[in-house]
Subunit: 606 residues, 2 copies
Amino acid sequence: MSEPQTDPLTTVLDGRWAEIRQAARAHVADFADVRAPGDLGIEAHRAQVLEQLQSLAKTDLPALGFDAQYGGKADVGGAVTAFGMLGFGDLSLMVKAGVQWGLFGGAVQLLGTARHHERYLRQIMSLDLLGCFAMTEHGHGSDVQHLRTTATYEDGSFVINTPDASAKKEYIGNAARDGEMAVVFAQLITGGESRGVHAFVVPIRVPGVTIEDCGRKAGLNGVDNGRLSFDHVRVPREALLNRFGDVAGDGTYSSPIESDNRRFFTMLGTLIRGRVSVAGSAGAATERALTLAVRYAEGRRQFFKPGGDEVVLLDYLAHQRKLLPALAKSYGLHFAQEDLVGKLNDLGSDAPEEEQRELEARAAGLKAVATWHATSTIQTAREACGGAGYLAENLLADLKADTDVFTTFEGDNTVLLQLVAKGLLTSYKEYFEELSPVAVARFVVEQFVDSVREKAPMLRGADADALLDCDWQRKMFEEREEHVIDSLARRLRKAGEAPFDTFNAAQDHVLRAGRAHVERLVLESFAARADDPLLSKVCDLYALSSIEADRAWFMEHGRLTPSGSKAVTAAVNKLCAELRPDARRLVDAFAVPEQFLAAPMLDELA
Amino acid sequence: MSEPQTDPLTTVLDGRWAEIRQAARAHVADFADVRAPGDLGIEAHRAQVLEQLQSLAKTDLPALGFDAQYGGKADVGGAVTAFGMLGFGDLSLMVKAGVQWGLFGGAVQLLGTARHHERYLRQIMSLDLLGCFAMTEHGHGSDVQHLRTTATYEDGSFVINTPDASAKKEYIGNAARDGEMAVVFAQLITGGESRGVHAFVVPIRVPGVTIEDCGRKAGLNGVDNGRLSFDHVRVPREALLNRFGDVAGDGTYSSPIESDNRRFFTMLGTLIRGRVSVAGSAGAATERALTLAVRYAEGRRQFFKPGGDEVVLLDYLAHQRKLLPALAKSYGLHFAQEDLVGKLNDLGSDAPEEEQRELEARAAGLKAVATWHATSTIQTAREACGGAGYLAENLLADLKADTDVFTTFEGDNTVLLQLVAKGLLTSYKEYFEELSPVAVARFVVEQFVDSVREKAPMLRGADADALLDCDWQRKMFEEREEHVIDSLARRLRKAGEAPFDTFNAAQDHVLRAGRAHVERLVLESFAARADDPLLSKVCDLYALSSIEADRAWFMEHGRLTPSGSKAVTAAVNKLCAELRPDARRLVDAFAVPEQFLAAPMLDELA
C-alpha cells in the first residue's frame, strides 16, 4: 500500500510541531487494545493504562519536557503538543502521563534545584519512580493559596501534617495504586512563622501516610485517583523544592522573591504546562468526536424527501447547525492553542514578569473556553448519532464521560475566566494609581461619554458581503472586548466601601470580559492562517457564529441593528450549506488515527 | 420521631396525584441498596434492577395503568405520575418498569383486543410474562413509518422476517436477558399488498430469533438492551394486535380507519404514555440533581472576602446564575407536566381526533424541552460541585450518564419539536385550503404588513416593575409564538416547487416555533399556580430568564429595546439575589427521598 498523501489542511493544522504529531500518531497505532476502555472494569483498565504508560516511557515523549543535562530534549512546545495528541486516544492515559511527567516531573524540574534534578529526573522519565502531584485539598480546590497542610521545620527536618479531614489531598492521580512519591504542597512554617505554600518531595508508601481510593468516577477510570493524609510525616530538609524559597539548617528562611504573594503566584505560574496540555487534549478529543459524528452524518439517512430518496443527515440544516459551527470553532481553538504553545515554548522560564503573566492569562482563558467547547460539542456529537452514540462500542460515551471533568480540574473554568479578567484590568489599575483625582474624574467622564454616545451601528441591513469582511469581523470582536473591559473597570472603580459586593454584582460582567478576550485571541490566530479559500470560509463561520451567539450583546451596545442581526443568522445558515460538501475533508484533516475511529456504527455506512 | 410537617410548596408540587407520589416515596425508602448502581458492574446491576422490578410488581404501581376488568386500576394519570417518581432513584429501574408495563403492557392493552387482554394482561402486571417493545430498527430510528421488518400472512399465520441488518430491532430493553416475548412492529403484508406498520406479539426465545446484547452503554446499564432479528418466524394469526386493523382467516384485511397514514398515526398516538413518563422522570432526575447541587452550594465555601470570611458558593452571583434560573424552569416544567398528565388522564382513549393530536403535540414538545433541560441542568450541577461532582459516590455522575439518552430516545428531540410545529401549522393549512387565491393573497399581505409595521417596543427602558408584571410576561411569550408561527407559515407557503429545500431552509425557524410554543405552555401552567409570593417570584425568574435567553429575538422583532433588554438581565440578577435565601427550601420541597441524596460530599457540610 502506498502512503496516502497528506492533505494540505493537515499540514496547516499540524503546524510547527508536525514531526512530534506524526510520531505520536505512529506510536499509538501500535497499541494492541483500542476498544472502549471502560469495558475493562476499573482494575484492568488501570493496569492497561500503566502498561501503555510504560510503552510511552520508551519513546521520546517523556524526555521532551526535561533539560538536556539529565537526558531530556528541552522541547517544551513539543512536550505539550505530544501530551495534547494523547487526547485522541484513551484520556486516562493522557491524564496519567500528564500527572507523571507534566505535573510531578514538571514540579521537580521547575520548583526544584540541581540536587532534585540529579536525584529524580532520570527516574521520573524512565518510570522507575512514579509520582503524584498533591496540591488540591478536600476543602480547598480552587483556592490553593489557603490550603492547610503544614510543613513545619524542626530539628533539621520538615514535619508534613494534615490537620483535619478538609485538608486531605483530594483526587490525586497515581495515588491510589501506582505512585511511590508525591510533590506535596503545604504551608511552610519555620521559627513559628508561616511562609506560605511551598512544595516538598514526600514518599507516600510509608507509615504515617494514609491513602484512600477515590473509587469509581464518571470517567477516566484508568487513572488511580486517591486521597492522601499525612500524620506528622518527617522528611529531610532537602525534600523542600527550593528554587523559590529555602530553609537553612538553623531554620532561617530565604527567598529570591520577597513578597509571599508574588512568590506564590510565580511558583504557580511556572506550572502552566499542565493547563496548556489539558486545553490541547480537550481539543483533540473534540476533534475525534466531530470526526465520528460528521462521518456518521455523512452516511446515515433518515426520512424521505417528498417523492424522493431518504435524506442524508448532514443535508438537514438543523444537523449542519449542530456540527459545523462547532467544527469551525474547533479549528479556531486548534490554531489558538498552537500559538499559545509557541509562546510558551519561546518565552522560556526567565521571561519578564509581565509577559509571563500575559501567558498565564492566555493559558487560563484558552483552557476554560476549550474545555467548555469540548463538553458541549461532544454532547452534541453524541446526540447527533442518536441511540448509536449512547452505546459504548461507538466511542462517544467514554469520550463524553472522560472529558467531563476537564471544565473543573486544572483550575475551575469559572475561576480561570475571572483570572483572565483580572489580568486585563491590571493596566487600568496602574493607570488610576498614577493619575491625580482630577485626571481620574476626567477619565471616568470620557468613558461615560463614550458609552452614551451611541455608536453608529456597524451593520444596518442584510448586506451579506459586509459580514464576510475579515476586518469588520475583527473590529466587532475588538470593540466588544474593549467596551466590556472599559465598562467593567468603571464599575469596579466604585468598589471602595464594599469590594466584595461590588465585585460580586459584576461577576457576570467579569466572566464576559474573560470570554470576549479569549474569543478575540482565537479569531486572530484563525485569521492569520485563513489564506486558503476553504479555511477562510471556515474562519467566517467561526466569526459569524460567535457573533450570532452573542448578537444580543451587539444589539444592546449599538453594534448591530435588528436587521443586521438577522442577516448574521442568515449568513451562518448560508455558510453551513456552503461548507457542507467539505465537512468530511475538514474532519479528516485532523488526522485522528483510524483505530480511534473504529466505531461499528460507521461500518455499514461505508 | 414525629413526622416532619409537609411544606405547603410540596403540596402544590405534588398536585392531583399526591397520594401516588407519597406511596412511591414510601416504597423506594424500603430498597436496601441505594448506592451508586454503576458500582455493581453490568450483570449484577441488571440482576438488582430485576429484583427491584419484582418488588415493584407487588405494589399497586403496575395495576394503575390497566383496565379494571383484568385487575387494573384504570388510573392513567396515576400510572404516569408513579413512573415519573421512579426518576428520583436508579433510572435503570424506571426504564425497565417503563418497558415492561408502559410500552410492552401498554401496547398489548391499547393496540390489542379482548383476546390479548384476557391472555396477557394479568401475567404482564405480575411479571409472570416479561416482554419487550420492538419498534426501533437499526436503520430507522425516528422514521418508524418506514421500518422494514415484515409480517407476511400466509397459510393461516404471520411470518415475521428481518430482511437485512439495517432492519434489526435495535436498543430493545428487556431483550438481552429477561424478556420472553416482544411486541414487534412490522409491515403487514397480506395478499401481496402492504398495509403499513402493525404490531404483533412474538415469542423471542425460540428458534429463528437471534438476540444480541447491546453491551455497555453510557448509562442505564441495569437495563438489558439487545438487538433482535427474525428469520421467518411463524406466529398465529391471533398474534396481530388487531384493534386498528385485522386479517381474516382468508387473508382479507379490514380496519376501522381507512387511510394507512391516519391509522399509523392513530396507533402511534395511543402510545404517548411512554413519552409522557420520560418527561416526568427527566424532571424528577433534574430535581434530584438540583437538590444535591444547591445543598452543596449552601455549605461549601471557597475564597475569602477581603478582610472577611470564606464565601459560601451560593452567595456568588455566578453560582446563583448557574443554579437558580434552572431551578425556576424546573418548577415551571413540573407544573406543565402535571397539566399534561391531567389532560392525558381526562381525555380518555376515544377523544375527538383534534384534541388527541393536540395532546400528542404537547407531550412531544414537553418531552423535548424537559429532557434537554435535564441534560444541561445535570451537567451544570456536576460542574457546580467541582471534582466532588465527578466522583460516582456523589451520585451526579450516574445521574448524568443515565439521563443522557433521554434527548434521543422515545423520539429524537429535534424530530419531536418539528412534530409540534407541524401541529401548529395545521390550522393555517386548513385556512389556505378553504380560501380563494385572492383571499390567500390578502392574508399574506396582511401578515406581511403586520411584520413590517414595527410594533411599539414593549419595554424601552429600565422600568423594573413592568418586567415583573405577569401580563406583560405572558404577552411577550404569546406574541413571540404567534409571530414565529405566522412568519413560518408564510415561508412554507412558497414550498410549491421544492418542498424539501423550502422546508430545510426554514428548519431552524421550525424548531424555534416548537420551542416558543412549549415555553408559552410552561409559563401558563406556572402562572396558574403562582399565587403564593414565593412561587410568584420563582415564576418571574422563569419568565425573565427565558426572555433573557432569547432576548436577541425580542430585539430583532421590536419587542425589546436595547436598554429594555439590559433591564431584563439586571432583573434576573436581582431575582437571583432575592431568591437565594429560599433556594434550600425550594429544592427540599421536591421531597426527593433522602436516601437518594446520601452523597458523602454533603456530610461534612451539614
